[in-house]
Amino acid sequence: MKTAIETKNLTVVFRGKWGVQKRAVHNLSLKVSEGSIFGFIGHNGAGKTTTIKILTGLCRPTSGEAEIMGISVNNVAARNKIGFLPENPYFYEYLTAGESLTFYARLRGIPRKDINKRVDELLDEVGLKDAKSRAVKGFSKGMKQRLGLAQAMVHNPEIYILDEPLSGLDPVGRREVREKIIELKKKGSSIFFTSHVLADVEMLCDEVALVSQGELVSFGKIDELINREVISVDIHGEGFEQGCLKKLEKLCKHMVHKDNTVLITVDTEEKAQQAKEILEKGGGTLRAMIPHRENLEDFYVRNSRGV
């Protein structure tokens, strides 16, 4: 499979105030295959945005290299291949949504005669049709995010680079963006996106890389990396005989009860099944049984050992 994005021993050191050096990315080597959705995860300050700034030509690497479809990021031609959605995208506030997209379409070299049609298509696609002649100034965070996506899609790029595309959105907005990402992949593009929420990555990605303090912690196919096993189960029951409580208590890690409702947490699905039986024998009803899987925190803890 061809490589969409590649970084080789990428290192970025910022020189801050009073000459204090800050190493944001250290010796990062990555490969993103063409046509895949690649999740780049890590906590705030891990170096995700900095890596993206290198790929989009906004920052220069201190050492190492980065390539977009075989073209060095130092070459502006590499920018032809990418569509970029920054973290919290910012636009000229004095322009309307339509004017903004027209501006980007012109910068992307879309022929003049096709621009109007393309802009309308894009606005339609991201659901901003009615906001075409509204100034960006009054846009909500969600609307700016959609305009940002439309802007990245102007020239149907081969690669999308999206910085935290899902953060700060309401559940509906998140779902829309997730669907859009899947749709873009179906059209044959590669997507590189960052997130600090493991669930987002799990749901969408083919491959992931985990960074911590600028260094690559693990990198590979998502199924090989993330523990799919259930690590705990929450059980919510009510209307049981008081006698069950003793038995439940022996079984669980954690228990809260009030009047005749109880919330317990056990650490395996087996134990959850047992707890359910106890509850039902005691005449109670099972209200909910919620399995929990590994989250970013656990993933970090498990993978960061020995780094």
């Binding site: 910022f14 700034k53 989009t56 030509g57 906004l58 920052c59 220069r60 502006v76 031609a77 920018r79 032809n80 990418i82 970029f84 920054p86 919290n88 995208p89 910012y90 636009f91 000229y92 004095y94 322009l95 501006f103 980007y104 012109r106 910068l107 992307r108 070299g109 940002g148 802007q151």
Partner: protein
């Protein structure tokens, strides 16, 4: 030509800036009342109208350079509007050059509007609009282009507030470079002489664009003066924009 797209957009940006309308409005008001002030000094009223009006057009152009031009680039960096723009296939110098051109277009329009207003008013009041009077306004515009290039360089190098102040200082010193050159006559300090000499050569010399005296006294101005001013404008602005491009190329955004 990516820079033309940036230029047209910057032109639109600055034309929509409220400060521009306020400034053009105020300057037209000043031109109108200068006639009334002129009437206080009998027989001198038209000369005072010319003096006042040219001064007003100049100063308000300078104010535009200082308050819009000097924060043009830094504002894009601070507000991060640059991110989506520079991720398009475009060199950073094209962005700088486009910003500069767009701002020059705005300066041109505002100088043109004020100039047309002044010339018509002057004509109506019985003055004679000579070619050199028009030349005077053209020269003044070229001076603004030079100041604008300094403002752009500063807006890449420093924060908006610093570049506003330094642009203003540059203008005032650049206006009085003759005095700068004269300082050594009055001082024995070698370092001071050295510094004033450096400043004399580094800072823009706006006297090259000032032919108000000659024009108001209806003296004919040799065409070399215009040619020299034009070449000075091209060379000085190019150097400023080149430095601005070098500076922004090095910057991590």
């Amino acid at each position: 030509m990516k820079f033309t797209i940036i230029a047209l957009n910057t032109f639109r940006e600055t034309m929509r800036d409220r400060i521009l309308r306020v400034i053009v409005g105020v300057s037209i008001f000043v031109i109108v009342i200068s006639k009334i002030i002129g009437e206080l000094s009998i027989g001198q009223d038209l000369k005072i109208l010319v003096d006042f009006s040219l001064g007003t057009i100049d100063i308000f152009g300078v104010v535009l350079c200082i308050f819009i031009g000097a924060s043009l680039i830094q504002r894009e960096i601070d507000k991060k509007t640059l991110y989506t723009i520079l991720s398009c296939p475009m060199n950073r110098w094209e962005f700088i050059f486009g910003k500069y051109l767009g701002m020059c277009m705005t300066l041109f329009v505002s100088t043109f509007v004020m100039g047309i207003f002044f010339c018509s008013y002057y004509f109506l009041m019985g003055g004679q609009v000579s070619l050199d009077l028009v030349g005077c306004i053209v020269m003044l515009f070229m001076g603004l282009m030079v100041l604008n290039s300094v403002a752009i360089l500063l807006s890449v190098l420093t924060s908006s507030s610093v570049s506003i102040i330094v642009t203003a200082i540059t203008f005032f010193i650049g206006r009085s470079t003759y005095h700068l050159k004269a300082i050594p006559q009055f001082s024995d300090s070698a370092t001071l002489n050295y510094l004033t000499n450096i400043m004399y050569y580094i800072l823009p010399n706006f006297n090259n664009f000032d032919i108000k005296e000659e024009a108001t006294h209806a003296l004919t101005i040799p065409s070399e003066v215009y040619l020299y001013a034009f070449l000075y404008m091209v060379v000085y602005s190019s150097v400023m924009l080149y430095l601005a491009s070098l500076a922004i190329n090095k910057r991590n955004l």
